[in-house]
């Protein structure tokens, strides 16, 4: 490690974020590898080290004898300040080497508000933030993750994006790079070839033209780039590589445990949910494979908790079988099993009994909307009866705290729908007091968390206007004023944060200039309340002559060319329009287990879908 870094570490908060050296980190001889890969998470160490994707892709890259993949996180502002003072460039944790000399700098893009951190990290590395200003072959700056589905607001900072699941395509990109590096190619030559790999989007190979009203006129590929780039998926989760070990952080991170993904995709088709539509088709992993891999990871890491994750864990068809396998050995090893993301309508008594045998935490439900009409619009197919029945099972099982998640600003939402949130929460309170088997001598605690709905690409609501900050303010106020019980605690998401998220989610390439300018004026860590500078952002929009409301609050016509129309996530626009129209009529679509709705995503997997 650089002596200068060692000297400044005692003066910053949580210095163990910056030392590397954690258990199971991968060390290699840098002279014995051809490719140096910096895997960057554009947020703090604690957030980044909680992310499963980085663990998977880190392990896969390091399986390659020719590659050394290392981790990089955004230094907290106190550390950044000291690094800038002393001209210490951004370095990778394992080797301590500056990442500007690496072959690849890969960013995972999990949420829109991390964009300024991407620029800040490139700059801290000593690199120009714009791809066009980075002339040599290396480093190739690439991006992936959910935000890659509409990467236009950051397109000019990246050389390429990898769409969909990265397990296989990342290696194909590295193989191609190795050939070009040997050949002494230019970056342009490499990128032209890379655009031929399925799932790889090279933004510089597409020209965007605009109508006078600011909407996109056309997206034109050049130099042989494909007209449409289709996301990648892995076909068989049992066969795809899963890490045999995790890097175990020294400091307490947000999710500090063994995490195991039990299936990909979601059968529910809630119309607001981008994760559902980005991750289809459904692919389940078998209980035996999950169980064996969990055993290995517990052995390697010493963790005492396994979290089974997915978009809706109780929809996993073999959940009981899996829990039986896990609960066979975990209690004896003092290991807890956690099962987040449960549905309220198929949460059985047996499942509750199984969960009770492990550690009990709070119970969380996500009705998302307060009235049945509103839930039908968003296709959240749960009824009030189902919810209260589940609450009863939980209360009888000893729970006395429930957290309910809702969204405000959903399409067609009225004040009555907003009031419905309070009424539903009140019914949960009443259910508790009417339950003869409730925990003795304890009151109930119902928490309501109301976030702001942000329309996202590739969902049936991608054409909808986001509620304006003023409208959202009114809705929050109205919910507070009409709350029918004091046993209910409400918390809200910050409206200004949701607004910027809404702008970037459906933004176009012209926003690159806004993001660059905002970063130059000091914006970073925008998802952290203490660093978010809303007024600066608004000044930048105004100075550059772009209206944020054009992106966030405007209704799009079905015929409009959307900035992400050249990217394909497997679900045709036709299907999304059909769902959008059904939403307007408050008609629901059955879940995939009951009846295939024909979303078309199975074509990505040779016609196969695990339902």
């Amino acid at each position: 490690m650089d002596k200068r870094i060692e000297k400044l570490l005692p003066t910053v908060q949580k210095p163990a974020r910056y030392t590397g050296g954690e258990l199971n980190q991968v060390m290699k001889d840098k002279n014995a590898v051809d490719i140096r890969y910096a895997f960057c998470f554009p947020d703090s160490y604690e957030i980044g080290m909680s992310h499963l994707g980085i663990k998977i892709l880190y392990a896969i890259a390091n399986e390659r004898p020719d590659t050394w993949c290392e981790r990089v996180f955004a230094p907290w502002p106190d550390m950044e300040e000291k690094m800038r003072e002393q001209n210490i460039p951004l370095y990778a944790l394992e080797s301590g080497d500056p990442i500007r000399d690496f072959d690849f700098i890969g960013f995972t893009l999990q949420y829109e508000l991390c964009y300024t951190n991407v620029l800040n990290m490139l700059d801290l590395a000593g690199l120009p933030v714009r791809a066009a200003d980075r002339k040599g072959l290396a480093p190739i700056v690439m991006g992936g993750g959910p935000c890659a589905c509409n990467p236009e607001p950051i397109a000019e900072f990246f050389d390429l994006f990898s769409l969909g699941e990265g397990e296989e395509v990342n290696s194909e990109i590295m193989d191609l790079y190795a050939v070009h590096k040997k050949r002494g190619s230019t970056k342009e030559a490499f990128l032209r070839d890379a655009a031929g790999i399925p799932g790889v989007y090279v933004p510089s190979l597409y020209d965007i033209s605009y109508h006078e009203d600011g909407t996109v006129e056309a997206i034109t590929p050049k130099d042989g780039a494909p007209a449409t780039v289709t996301k990648r998926i892995v076909r068989d989760l049992d066969k795809v590589y899963y890490p045999k070990t995790f890097v175990v952080p020294f400091i307490d991170v947000v999710h500090d445990r063994v995490t195991h993904e039990i299936f990909r995709g979601c059968i529910r088709g809630c119309r607001f949910c981008q994760a559902c539509f980005l991750n289809r088709p459904i692919r389940e992993k078998s209980p035996e494979v999950i169980n064996e891999q969990c055993k290995g990871l517990i052995e390697q890491t010493g963790y005492d908790e396994i979290s089974l994750c997915s978009l809706s864990s109780s929809d996993y068809t073999k959940i009981e079988e899996l829990l039986n396998l896990l609960l066979d050995w975990t209690p004896g090893e003092q290991v807890n099993v956690a099962l987040p993301s449960l549905r309220v309508d198929n949460f059985s008594d047996e499942l509750l009994q199984k969960l009770k045998s492990v550690r009990r935490s709070g119970l969380t439900f996500a009705p998302e909307a307060g009235t049945q009409r509103m839930r039908d619009v968003i296709n959240k197919n749960v009824t009030e009866e189902e919810m209260l029945e589940t609450a009863n099972i939980a209360f009888a099982g000893g729970y006395s705290a429930v957290k309910l998640y809702f969204m405000l600003g959903l399409p067609t939402e009225t004040d009555e729908d907003v009031e419905g949130i309070g009424l539903l929460a009140k019914k949960v309170v009443d259910t508790y007091y009417q339950n003869p088997d409730k925990p003795k001598g304890r009151g109930v605690n119902v928490g309501v968390s109301a976030s702001s709905f942000v329309p996202k690409p590739f969902t049936p609501f991608q054409w909808e206007p986001q509620a304006t900050p003023e409208e959202l303010k009114h809705k929050q106020q109205h919910l507070k004023e009409t709350l029918p019980s004091r046993k209910i605690n409400v918390s809200f998401h910050d409206i200004k944060t949701s607004f910027l998220e809404g702008v970037f989610a459906r933004g176009d390439r012209r926003l690159c200039a806004v993001i660059e300018e905002a970063w130059k004026r000091g914006c970073k860590f925008d998802s952290w309340g203490e660093f978010y500078r809303f007024d600066t952002w608004m000044e930048v929009f105004s100075d550059l002559g772009l209206d944020p409301a054009f992106y966030a609050n405007r209704r799009r016509e079905y015929g409009e060319v959307l900035p992400w129309d050249h990217l394909n996530y497997g679900i045709p626009k036709k299907y999304l329009i059909r769902e959008s129209e059904k939403a307007k009529r408050a008609e629901t679509t059955d879940n995939c287990h009951n009846k295939c709705a024909g979303c078309g995503a199975n074509k990505l997997n040779g016609g196969h879908c695990d339902v």
Binding site: K7, K14, A16, Y18, Q300, T301
Partner: protein, 220 residues
């Protein structure tokens, strides 16, 4: 069931792992090493691992005592060290596992080696500061329930010190209070020296070599 005292060294960059994080780290290491540790009883059982004295963030340690309880009498004490060493991250090592001889409360002094860069602090200045008898530092404390900074004398608590020079560094060997009654760490000593001299020196390295009891005998 028997109790054993582990003597842990903490060297290199792992010195930046805090006391609280060390506990979690050791818990995972004993799990990986399959050491039959005694778990506390109750709702959330956790392994019994007792760090006898916190080591300040950034300070290395040569012989830091940790008490653990082994439930299986047939599990040899020597194996505790070897099994743990195979499971610990770089920089941590169990140097020995012994039968505890003294009670944890016997810890009174810590012997430190603190290295300074001569460009930041001269031998003459450091000697003058240490001989002044007027060193003091600030510690956060409470007064009437409010948080306040309190002046704490340093000079009167230094048990002994000696100074050695290399071409570029000053090496201070110093015995400072450690334990449940009063604690002074190398950073506080340095702060006091800086306050007295008007300098801004930072230790290049600080190592706690060993712990002593009230009589100045090595803690065992």
């Amino acid at each position: 069931m028997y109790e054993t005292r582990l003597w842990l060294s903490k060297r290199g960059r792992i010195r930046f792992v805090s006391h609280l994080d060390m506990f979690r780290l050791m818990t995972r290491a004993v799990r990986r090493a399959h050491i039959p540790l005694w778990y506390t009883e109750g709702f959330n059982p956790h392994p019994y691992i007792s760090f006898l004295l916190a080591l300040s963030l950034g300070v290395e340690g040569e012989r830091e005592p940790i008490d653990i309880r082994i439930v299986d009498d047939a599990y040899p004490m020597e194996q505790v060290a070897s099994a743990l060493n195979a499971a610990l991250p770089e920089g941590l090592r169990v140097e020995a596992a012994t039968v505890p001889e003294m009670k944890p409360a016997a810890i009174t002094w810590g012997e430190y080696t603190v290295t300074y860069d001569k460009a930041e602090l001269s031998a003459a200045d450091l000697t003058r500061a240490l001989e002044s008898g007027a060193l003091e530092t600030e510690k956060s404390g409470k007064s009437g329930g409010r948080k306040v900074m309190k002046k704490v004398g340093v000079s009167e608590h230094i048990r002994s010190w000696s100074l050695e020079e290399t071409p570029e560094t000053l090496i201070l060997r110093v015995v400072l209070p450690a334990g449940s009654v009063l604690n002074l760490n190398p950073q506080q000593l340095t702060d006091a020296v800086n306050a007295y001299l008007g300098t801004a020196a930072a230790p290049v390295r600080a190592v706690r070599e060993r712990l002593l009891n009230a009589d100045g005998k090595e803690f065992r």
